[in-house]
Symmetry: C2
């Protein structure tokens, strides 16, 4: 033949490619490699309800099928979003979001919700993302066409323990051991609602993206496997774990009660009550004498367009406080995650006084609206030394949204970044100041006291049987040499922080703090000489600062006066808290002994441009 | 005091922050937290040659120190590039580039250059990146200031086997067991030249970025560690391994000689010589009867602004050809890399007939100027089935610059993507066509023959003792059912390729090829019924196509005629090569039995916007 013609049922349309050149109403010239494309503009009411006599099979029908998620991130599952199959960061981005269901709906007989196979309470559905399978087609599918879906991780994990899929009636349909499932075809226009539960946080071996594939399979006769007719897919990004900087509003302050910290606890309670925040005390039956509330855990949160809750990161430190995060913090809408060191020694640098986060910053035009994580490690050119354990570093880097900065903290005996730095809110400039411990600023105070005739003023009034006079401190060559060393170490970190956070000198305040260097087996390392005021608790504009017990001038501690003069002009209120016996003498201070749960940032992590 | 004044040597300058408000020529008001910043505008000739009496230490000097690399990617090491410490993709990007030194300067007693501790030949320096330590300062540093550098991987590998650093006199100064090194300070204006050697390709656990840190250390007196005064750093990105699509110019064709393929070899030789390319024959002492040259290896290359060379990826297939890539291909400026399966079974899908790459494409505005890698795996909703081994998939994904596409190839007995698809150059549209095997197109040819009175024309003339007439083929219901199944499988892949490569139907040509489905233990899988013409060798506009042995019409094979009519209008020249006995009957064809080394793409991978 040289020409052909086409007839079909009224709701069937066709197109010929390549376009027939000499088209006339009745027939088309046959050209090499001609393709006839048949389309229908309405869904079929019964199977094979339309006909195209020239096409094999002659009976045809239409079925609309779509796997739908909240790809536009407004909290509502829309219909067949063209971008549902991929992830793009940013305010113009797309891709659905999944939470790791790491809280526990029950408070007794606790388990992470993600570790149980069933849905225990209706409220648990809140922690999952909705997914809808929308079908519109004939009442029955012909010849056993079937619908199948399966999750496929984009980043090829050896195990697939990434998500579980529940039907609305709480039945798990795809899970850790059951990666694929046939879906019943109900006929007509139907919506099947699923709840998707995330099981794993992003990590070194998992970029946080999970794909769910849906396939329409056609039987191909005896002896043949079913063949795919149509595949749809949706992508979820697991919410990263996000830390909260000192500039975010506090919700609850955590502190330990021990047999020797009653007056400290009273000071903290007074401060917290004055501010109107909640106070959570961890009692001795749980803390077993471990008072370092800062070190055992770090608060963060996970966030999605439909739900958000705080998540505690449990440190591999595992002191006597080790059960506290799981036993006392995990609960409904309070999640829990931890990492265990693998074939690695856990060191003091694994305590979370060594894990902080900056307020939002912009560095050379690149913005970090959620701030940047700050950890302390060995010096970059050191071949030995202590580091934060690799699994925790990997976890922190993998969250991506608060790109970490590694500082040098191994020069300290305890080795935590909170021993020499913190952030406080400020009304001007970048809306915060970086506070740094500064031996130079410390000596400046002592020298000025001496110059003003207070050389004999007593250090540690009432705290030491030995008398350390102001002049005694100024004449201690060893103390001076140690503080020159410490100042060098802090100056190097200052340069790194200025560069990595985009700070000017005007964004930094040097607090007058002296250190002393102890000879340890593995070399000389530093501790605070008097209570380390930078190791403070920041509650909005209220600061709970370790009371330094410096020399008194006119009945007032000269160090407190100096710190007030540096911080009060910013609208900050300083409360000096006596932590000398129960914390300072054990090489920690107020910040080490407390923790603060804060509100989540108003900035949504998926709006980051990565 | 309320005011202060400053005097210093003539080449010393100073700045006071915050800016003194009531500045006059002689003195400045003392303000809280005032900082005096001292700078010098020339490098010191001797240590402590300048003075600022008010500053401690009173004697000061300047030293300029800079670790330099080719951060602007022009092949020349510039001076103190402000972006040398970070990596940015794209034509406006920055960051130095490092090659894995995976070739072998020696041809006898071969080892990868990266595996030997010394530099064996001057030519080996070509494979490394230059790095220069520039110092300008006094003749001697005071009190034992020292310079130290160390490599630090940004992505925290458990082992640091990422690079080696050689001095110009070929002495290794930093290597796999020696991660840090003090550098002699030579005084005055000096340049110390290093050669940096990459050791590892990007992979799942390594993002390809390596940092080298340089520190100036200051002694801090007895009993104290040295403290960092200044740190400089440079970043290198390891070149990914890059594949070459069929549209790039061939250099050399590789093929095996066996005891039964003399006439095939002769046809290949004729074709290659006609085109003017080189031919490399792998003889039996090396191939031990394994003729599948496509499957044991894949050619690619690595590229940097200063040097480029081809690199063969050795498949974990490890057939009898397994020694060929290392023994016969590795050599000076011809690199080698391999991956071994870990606790995984290697399957037929690990042969590199199942690893191809598309020509450059643009998909929804996103461009892939180096094309996209294509591999074959099990169907996305299948819970069992064969896959390409995880280590090879991880390697391919980690190269990043040719974002892979996974097709469904497990429906084939052999399971390679080259059994149903290839790319050929074209003068128009996207400068290429995708060729797909098409049973529908095959039946179209056979039906048209029957309609034109050639129903008794013989299939496989001269090749089979049984006679398969044209009508016999058309009446074989089982063959038809199998081909419907195959067409479904290919159609699904066609949809994926259209979407992932941004192709229209006009970019695709369907070649008339029938398959037959075999009942295997693990289900029904397909093989080509007659020589699979899509499994061709592409040498510029010359195609070496498996001779299909179809029914003859007027002395000419109807299948050849059809394929010529589809391809010759694109300016392509078809040579049909008889591979029936030595390849087709063993379930492979021309492409499976050959390999082509091609020129590198003119597009530079670091100019990609990722």
């Amino acid at each position: 033949s040289k020409f052909f013609s086409i007839k079909c049922s009224p709701n069937v349309h066709y197109k010929i490619t390549p376009q027939a050149r000499d088209r006339n109403a009745d027939s088309y010239p046959l050209t090499p490699n001609a393709v006839l494309i048949v389309t229908m503009d309405a869904v079929s009411k019964t199977a094979n309800d339309s006909k195209v006599p020239a096409v094999h099979p002659q009976n045809i029908f239409t079925l609309r099928i779509s796997l739908d998620v909240d790809a536009d991130r407004d909290g509502i599952v829309e219909k067949n979003n063209p971008n549902k199959g991929s992830w793009k960061w940013g305010p113009n981005g797309h891709g659905a979001i999944l939470l790791v269901n790491c809280d526990s709906e029950t408070t007794n007989k606790k388990t992470l919700d993600s570790e149980v196979e069933e849905i225990r309470k209706v409220s648990d559905l809140q922690d999952m993302s909705k997914m809808i399978l929308r079908t519109n087609g004939p009442a029955e599918l012909p010849e056993g066409l079937s619908v199948l879906y399966r999750m496929v991780p984009l980043s090829f994990l050896p195990e697939n323990k990434l998500l579980k899929l529940f039907l609305k009636d709480y039945i798990m349909v795809v899970g850790t051991d059951m990666l694929t499932q046939k879906v019943p075809y109900l006929g007509g226009k139907t919506e099947l609602e699923f709840f998707v539960e995330g099981l794993r946080f992003p990590d070194k071996d998992f970029d946080g993206l999970i794909t769910i594939n849906l396939s329409l399979l056609e039987p191909c006769g005896k002896g043949f496997p079913e063949t795919p007719v149509f595949t749809d897919k949706v992508v979820f990004h697991i919410s990263p774990w996000i830390m909260t900087p000192n500039t975010l509003k506090p919700v609850e302050v955590y502190v330990c009660s021990t047999d020797d910290n009653h007056s400290f606890l009273k000071s903290i309670r007074n401060l917290v009550e004055k501010c109107g925040y909640k106070l959570k005390i961890c009692y001795e039956y749980m803390n077993r004498g471990d008072r370092w509330m800062q070190d055992e855990l770090e608060f963060g949160y996970i966030d999605s367009p439909h739900h958000q809750f705080p998540v505690v990161l449990d440190s591999p430190r595992d002191g006597d406080l080790q059960d506290f995060p799981y036993e006392s913090i995990l609960g409904p809408d309070f999640g829990y995650v931890t990492r265990h060191a693998l074939n690695e020694e856990v060191s003091s640098l694994d305590s979370f006084g060594n894990l902080e986060v900056s307020p939002p910053v912009t560095v050379n035009g690149k913005s970090y609206p959620l701030g940047r994580i700050i950890i302390g490690v060995a010096f970059p050119t050191a071949t030995s030394g202590r580091n934060m354990t690799q699994v925790v570093q990997d976890f922190l880097w993998a969250q991506k949204v608060q790109a970490p900065i590694a500082l040098y903290s191994d020069w300290l005996v305890v080795g935590h970044v909170d021993e020499f730095m913190t952030f406080v809110p400020a009304p001007d400039r970048k809306k915060f100041r970086l506070l740094l411990a500064s031996p130079d600023a410390g000596y400046k105070v002592f020298k000025s006291l001496q110059n003003n005739g207070h050389g004999n003023a007593e250090m540690f009034p009432g705290k030491h049987s030995l008398i350390f006079s102001n002049s005694f401190i100024l004449s201690d060559k060893k103390l001076q040499a140690g503080n020159r060393y410490v100042q060098n170490c802090i100056d190097w970190n200052r340069d790194v922080l200025k560069k990595e956070l985009g700070l000017d000198d005007e964004d930094i305040i040097d607090l007058p703090i002296l250190f002393q260097v102890l000879e340890e087996k593995k070399g000389a390392r530093a501790v605070a000489y008097y209570p380390d005021m930078v190791n403070m608790i920041v509650l909005g504009d209220q600061l709970g600062i370790p009371k330094p017990f410096g020399p008194k001038v006119n009945g007032r501690c000269a160090l407190e006066t100096e710190v007030r003069s540096l911080l009060e002009p910013l609208g900050l209120k300083c409360t000096f808290i006596d932590d000398f016996a129960p914390y300072h003498k054990l090489l920690g201070e107020v910040h080490c002994g407390s923790n603060v749960l804060r509100e989540a940032s108003p900035f949504k992590w998926w709006n980051l441009e990565l």
